[in-house]
Amino acid sequence: MVTEQLQPTRHPLGAGTFKEPSRRLTVIERRRPGVLSAFRELWRYRRFTLHFGRSILTRRYATAWLGLVWLPLRPVLNIAAKLLVFGGLVGITAGAIPYPVYFLLASGAWVLFAESVLWSIRALEMNRSVLRELHVPRLVVIAGALVPSGIDFLIHIALVSCGLLYYYLRTDHFYLELTLLSPLIVGAALLLLMLLGLGAGLILAAGARARDVRFGLTYLVSFLYFLTPVIYPFELIPNEWKPVALLNPVTGAMELFKLGLIPGEEVSWKALVVTVTAVFALWVPGLWLFQRREVRDW
């Protein structure tokens, strides 16, 4: 027996009373192709983006005994091992700031890119059965990849904060340089990294069978990891190899990110041009290919 009154805020006169008609109209029309339409849909279906992103996380850790504990544990173990090798055994230094702080910052930016690429392809596969029934724009699912990558990034930022606090208490020195422009520069760098990651995912998911691509991409991203100045600062690259390093599209965004936070950092405009060009080169054909592969008769 249902006796309760529904939403007193919507029905101030109580159950059984005709509520005021809404002044807002909802219109359902034919889906229109086009780039602007794609972005409008992305906004319209934003709650699905979060849903698909969240389902990636829950499905990834659902069967693990430790469950969501793995979410922070995986990056922590990964960082610990790499710090031991690169900061300890190999002895790489990062100039003015302690290497662990540098490495955590760079790794945070890197995971935002790398996880976006990998999850954007994986997300389509994971939700394939839902997408057969539900005709939401596939771009929404790809964008859902930003949820796991964003969480990994935030975990890295939390670790950086711990590291900075440790060094501040130990040396009474705050190693980062934060200016009024820092949020702007860091924001632009993160945006470029996300666009690079999703753009690569978009073009790869659209261009070929996702599973085949995923198998190959894991190795490609690992290779790119060593080419990008994440483990080592850009200055450590020998001069004759620097022009080659600048051709890596992730380098520009990575250096921009460091520029916003680390004192004494510089970024080459050539690297930024390569990064921005790569973003366009990935997104324009990526969207075109991707839309061609979407269902025509929505």
């Binding site: 249902v2 002044r23 909802t26 219109v27 086009g34 339409s37 279906y45 005709h135 592969r293």
Partner: protein
């Protein structure tokens, strides 16, 4: 804003009369089913990929790229089918209106279009032409709610997920979740639930479709009379929402329910409106045109490049759709499917689950040629203990030695009465326990080409 809608406001756009909650205006939907086996040995790899489509993208080819994003391009151009394609119109220039506080039933025979209308209203797909204008927010369809939460294992999580995805504001979310759970579970005494876990989840999904914040409700499925307690709660809540000004569109295939819930009905034939008026008149017209209760439109439950599961139905010996069976009814499960690949090994699996404890499963196999088939599983009278069963049908194909799932259809329920509690087990009679496979010869299966 409703999911899948364009969310346009009234300034300069469409208008609705004050008393109208929903206006369906010349709505058309075209399905282009690509016959996905055009990969002749001579075609190039790229052409084969393009023509076959990708399961990720629904196994269909893509649309045009339009950088101009022309807003004025309102005309939908009817495209003649290409070789290997079948163009189907589940909806063709359908128009009707629903007033505030009114329940309108949309009924029709298989392929007539009610399910497609519910899918469009529920935001699961979009129309090919025409439009729907609603005053306020359109609630989720049962199908959408079930799809989004099918991996959830706890009723509260189901309700929370739906609240998040459907855009219920943070301040209202807790209230929404509590209302959905209360409606699903009832106000009965605390303790073990009298219904199975699966049924509880189903109740939550159905309860979520009665979205208290929605102005238009989409009921593509309603609880059956066999589920009496929940059915009563559901109907009372629906009536309460209607009194408060919500409108509802019911597209269930159950004509008795349509007759009971709706004041007006729309009859669709081949995707077009052929009758609209008081529900009793329309239902009578359905009887005259079909001679029997209209079945739900065959729904493409799942498909890939090789096969598609179209519809599942439970009937008696005469072919009449039923959910509740007496011993003389000779219950059977009808499975309609389509294959597109020559010499394809297809397996239909039917599972009957009662209270999560008694589970029976049987397989019917066929090496099929391209075409439509109807598989019939007869359940011998007297072999099934009394009770409510959840029926699940899976369609598998075996390709290059690997078996893949094409689709799954959950039939709401089969209830057996008067068969006796000590009847033989279904497993003994027609099949084998879950996990094993029987050939068609061993079980009581017939799988034949569909004459229709």
């Amino acid at each position: 804003m409703s999911i899948g809608s364009n969310g346009k406001r009234s300034n300069g756009g469409p208008e609705l009369d004050a008393g109208i909650a929903l206006s369906v205006q010349e709505l058309s939907k075209q399905h282009t089913v690509v016959h996905l086996l055009r990969n002749t040995p001579t075609s190039s790899v790229f052409a084969r990929l393009r023509d076959r489509g990708d399961p990720i993208f629904g196994g269909q080819t893509g649309g045009a790229f339009d950088l101009d994003d022309d807003e004025d391009e309102d005309e939908f151009e009817e495209r003649p089918p290409e070789p290997g394609e079948v163009v189907d119109w589940p909806l063709r220039e359908v128009s009707f209106e629903v007033a505030r506080g009114e329940v309108v039933g949309v009924v029709g025979r298989p392929a007539a279009g009610p399910q497609t209308l519910a899918r469009i209203l529920g935001g699961m797909t979009s129309p090919s032409a025409g439009r729907i204008v609603a005053r306020g927010r359109i609630g989720p369809s049962v199908e959408l709610a079930a799809l989004l939460t099918r991996r959830e294992t706890h009723p509260r999580r189901v309700a929370k997920t739906l609240a998040r995805v459907l855009g219920v504001g943070r301040s209202r979310r807790r209230e929404y979740v509590e209302q959905v759970l209360r409606l699903a579970a009832g106000d009965g005494p605390a303790g073990p639930s009298p219904v199975s876990e699966r049924q509880r989840m189903r109740h939550v999904v159905l309860a979520a479709a009665l979205d208290p914040y929605a102005d238009v409700l989409v009921l593509d499925e309603v609880p059956t009379a066999a589920d009496a307690a929940f059915h009563e709660r559901f109907t009372e809540r629906l009536e309460l929402l209607l009194r408060q000004g919500a409108a509802a569109v019911v597209t269930s295939g159950d004509l008795e329910l349509i007759l009971r819930l709706c004041s007006r009905a729309v009859l669709l034939e081949h995707g077009e409106v052929v009758r609209e008026g008081p529900v009793a008149e329309v239902i009578e017209a359905v009887g005259q045109t079909s001679g029997a209760q209209p079945a739900a439109r065959p729904r493409r439950v799942g498909f890939d490049a090789r096969a598609a599961l179209l519809a599942v139905e439970t009937t008696d010996e005469s072919g009449e759709r039923k959910r509740s069976f007496r011993p003389y009814d000779e219950p059977r499960v009808l499975i309609q499917f389509e294959t597109a690949e020559p010499r394809l090994t297809v397996t239909c699996r039917v599972k009957l689950i009662a209270d999560g404890a008694r589970t029976f499963s049987t397989d019917g196999d066929l090496i099929a040629e391209p075409g439509r088939y109807i598989a019939v599983l007869r359940i011998p009278a007297g072999s099934v203990p009394d009770g409510d069963y959840q029926v699940t049908v899976d369609l598998f194909v075996v390709h290059e030695g690997q078996r893949s799932t094409i689709g799954r259809q959950n039939v709401v329920q089969m209830a057996f009465e008067g068969f006796g509690d000590d009847g033989g087990t279904l497993a003994d009679e027609i099949g084998a326990p879950v996990g094993s496979t029987r050939s068609a010869a061993e079980a009581d299966w017939t799988i034949e080409p569909d004459a229709d």
